[in-house]
């Protein structure tokens, strides 16, 4: 490990493995999953072939194979060697078995009554319990039978319908498969369902309101206020406004619930002024939006505040002194000295927060959970509700992956744009030791 090239590759290896396993593979798999019908009902590994009633119905309605569907749907009885062998093993009278073998081998019946009448008319006259026992051994019904693979399915069906064509085989396999299949339906559904437009609108509103009002707007107010303050209160306020960011989301949202719930602080205070107590977080769409924007905004404001503050600190003090000698007001200082210096930090914060707001949903999940009635459901939260957790319990992994793919693509495109915009290539210095 003497050359820096070998050492470098060894030291990079763990990072590369993690990147491949948890970034590259999931990106590719998101794309793959988005073209499947995976859901809770199909499972995520391969499925099985099952001739459930709905599979037989599909065979009839979708594939037009009425005869085959009818045969499979009916209970059927076949007098075959397998059944006779079982009867012998079970110790049924040899005369019955012999007569069945010689006179009735390969007869088929579609109705239980018919096969039992035949058995009853045998010379040895079996009793009714015996008839039931014998007929059960010849039942070859496939309704609800499960098969691990196509071959087993075809073999079983052949016992009922010996002339199975290739077309029928294909239809049979397609209709009875219970696992996931490939599809482009997810994207068609995403384009056509009205939920998409509403969720998209919510997402745009959420990102732009939070970004403009808090992540840049309020952050700027905080940074300016802290700038025009002595060091001690400035430090105090910087820490105070950083608290929402370092507080774990679950507790942070809990404190908002304490403020906004119908037995909470806001209701109690406003009650004294004659306002009916209510759940300010969920009682109307407008209030839910205010809460959502505030909750996310205060978290985001701290990042802007710190970045803007350090940018203001970097401005030479002499500029401020000179402007004050010239009689500048405070807002003139802000307008002509501070704001022009903040162009790049503002752009950086805007870019950065756009992407993280677009994809973050935990604060909304914990506070309004998309309510009331889906009015605060944003795109990322809709993915969570579609594929990972919802009340109905039917998780649509395929459709969720398709929705996630949209964000993944946006994420990749925007991060590449940012890389260009902020010229990170300039950050790589040439190594001074060459070997």
């Amino acid at each position: 490990m003497n050359s820096s090239r070998n050492l470098g590759l060894v030291l990079m290896a763990p990072a590369i493995v993690l990147v491949v396993l948890f970034f590259l593979v999931p990106v590719a798999l998101t794309a793959v999953f988005s073209f499947t019908t995976m859901s809770t009902s199909t499972g995520i590994t391969g499925g099985a072939y099952q001739l459930a009633p709905n599979a037989i119905q599909r065979l009839r309605d979708q594939f037009g194979m009425v005869e085959l569907a009818q045969k499979l749907g009916e209970p059927s009885f076949v007098i075959d060697e397998r059944g006779l062998a079982t009867l012998e093993a079970k110790g049924v009278a040899p005369g019955i078995v012999a007569e069945l073998r010689s006179n009735h081998l390969n007869e088929t019946f579609t109705v239980r009554r018919d096969v039992e009448r035949m058995i009853r008319s045998l010379r040895e006259r079996p009793s009714t319990p015996e008839v039931k026992l014998i007929s059960a051994e010849f039942s070859r019904s496939l309704a609800n039978a499960r098969f691990a693979d196509e071959a087993a399915l075809f073999a079983a069906v052949k016992a009922i319908d010996a002339q199975l064509t290739e077309d029928e085989k294909a239809a049979l396999a397609a209709a009875s498969y219970s696992g996931w299949t490939w599809t482009t339906e997810n994207f068609r559904r995403m384009v056509s369902t009205p939920d998409t437009a509403r969720t998209l609108f919510n997402t745009l509103a959420y990102v732009s309101l939070t970004l403009v009002l808090f992540n840049t707007g309020f952050a700027m107010i905080l940074a300016l206020a802290v700038h025009y303050m002595p060091e001690r209160p400035a430090g105090f306020f910087r820490i105070l406004w950083l608290l929402p960011r370092i507080t774990p989301p679950v507790i942070y949202v809990l404190m908002w619930k304490w403020l906004a719930w119908d037995t909470g602080f806001l209701s109690a205070v406003l009650d004294d002024f004659g306002v009916r107590p209510r759940n300010w977080m969920l009682d109307s769409a407008a209030n839910a939006w205010v809460v959502v924007v505030f909750i996310n905004g205060l978290v985001g404001a701290s990042m802007g505040m710190l970045i803007f503050s350090s940018a203001i600190k970097a401005i030479p003090q002499s500029l401020f002194y000179a402007s004050e000698v010239d009689g500048a007001y405070r807002w003139q200082q802000i307008r002509h000295i501070i704001l022009p210096q903040l162009r790049w930090p503002i752009l950086f914060v805007t870019c950065y927060q756009t992407l993280s707001l677009l994809t973050s949903f935990e604060y909304i999940l914990l506070s309004t959970n998309g309510g009331p009635g889906g009015t605060t459901e944003v795109w990322a939260l809709a993915i969570y509700h579609t594929a990972l957790n919802n009340y109905a319990g039917n998780l649509q992994y395929g459709y969720g992956a398709a929705m996630a793919l949209v964000l993944v693509v946006i994420g990749i495109v925007l991060s590449l744009v940012y890389l260009r915009l902020f010229n990170y290539g300039a950050l790589v210095a040439r190594p001074l030791i060459e070997h």
Binding site: G8, L18, V19, P230, I246, A380, I383, A404
Partner: protein, 274 residues
């Protein structure tokens, strides 16, 4: 800040703006050790009953100490992985002459900006397929991988400040590049390692979505999921209990933050998710 403007109006205005925030945090503490009359927010008695969750396990919920242990294991392990991976990869990106170094660095930047949470559907399905769903190992690896790009970026920044002369002297004396990194450079960035370790421990301790989706079971539950499921249970609404569990959960965060804020301020100002 120059002397020509009065600062008290600004301090007053910001104090008023900050009052609700202060109030929320003050009541987070007050409500856990007091009772108030119905409809009032002025406490009238001191009590420890809200803390009974520490010694009594409610039916159908995991034991709080078990959950705390899970949280500790989760946060510590993901922090250690992030530290190990970032301290090596960061050094490569800062110093070593490997092919495609600027490509790797651009990759780290893109991954840092890229919202990994969008991959959670695929990760969820993969963990189920390979049998790591509902296990701490799976969620720890995912968390470490997601925090790693930021860690590499931060460590690269710290390595960049180490003078080249130290390494040159080491090479002159015949040490291998590995020995130089391990024995000479690594001690130089110890404050950086400490800050990053602290930061990623806090990130792990606060994480909610990943354990909620990837490891929600009672055996592997962490504090954030435990508290969220307490709050989500409509049959047992007890704000004082929620706040007590919440305070128990947030206490390490606040202690670490106030004790080491000088270390952390740099990283928080440098742009993290949120």
């Amino acid at each position: 800040m120059t002397g020509n403007f009065r600062s008290w109006p600004v301090v007053l205005a910001l104090s008023l703006l900050s009052a609700p925030l202060l109030l929320m945090y003050a009541y987070l503490i007050v409500d856990t050790i007091t009772n108030s009359p119905v409809g009032s927010f002025v406490p009238n008695e001191f009590t420890l009953e809200h803390w009974s969750f520490l010694w009594e396990t409610p039916r159908g919920r995991p034991n709080i100490w078990r959950v705390t242990l899970n949280s500790l294991v989760f946060a510590t392990s993901s922090c250690l992985i992030v530290l190990a991976v970032s301290s090596t990869a960061g050094y490569v990106l800062s110093r070593l002459n490997v092919p495609g170094r600027s490509f790797f660095l651009a990759g780290v930047m893109v991954l840092h900006a890229f919202p990994a949470i969008t991959l959670i559907v695929a990760i969820f399905l993969v963990l189920q397929m390979v049998g790591l769903y509902n296990s701490l190992v799976g969620v720890i690896l995912v968390k470490a991988a997601i925090d790693m790009p930021l860690g590499i970026w931060i460590m690269k920044g710290f390595y960049d400040t180490v003078p080249w002369e130290i390494e040159m002297a080491g090479i002159q004396d015949g040490a291998s590049r590995f020995r130089v990194w391990h024995s000479l450079v690594l001690p130089q960035v110890r404050p950086g390692l400490f800050a990053l370790g602290l930061f990623s421990f806090l990130l792990g301790w606060s994480e909610f979505i990943l354990p909620q989706v990837l490891a929600p079971g009672n055996q592997v539950q962490v504090l954030s999921v435990y508290l969220a499921s307490l709050i989500a249970d409509d049959n047992n609404f007890d704000m004082a209990l929620f706040k007590s569990v919440g305070l128990f959960y947030i206490a390490p965060v606040l202690i670490l933050f106030f004790a080491f804020q000088n270390y952390l301020m740099n990283i928080y100002g440098g742009g993290t998710k949120g």
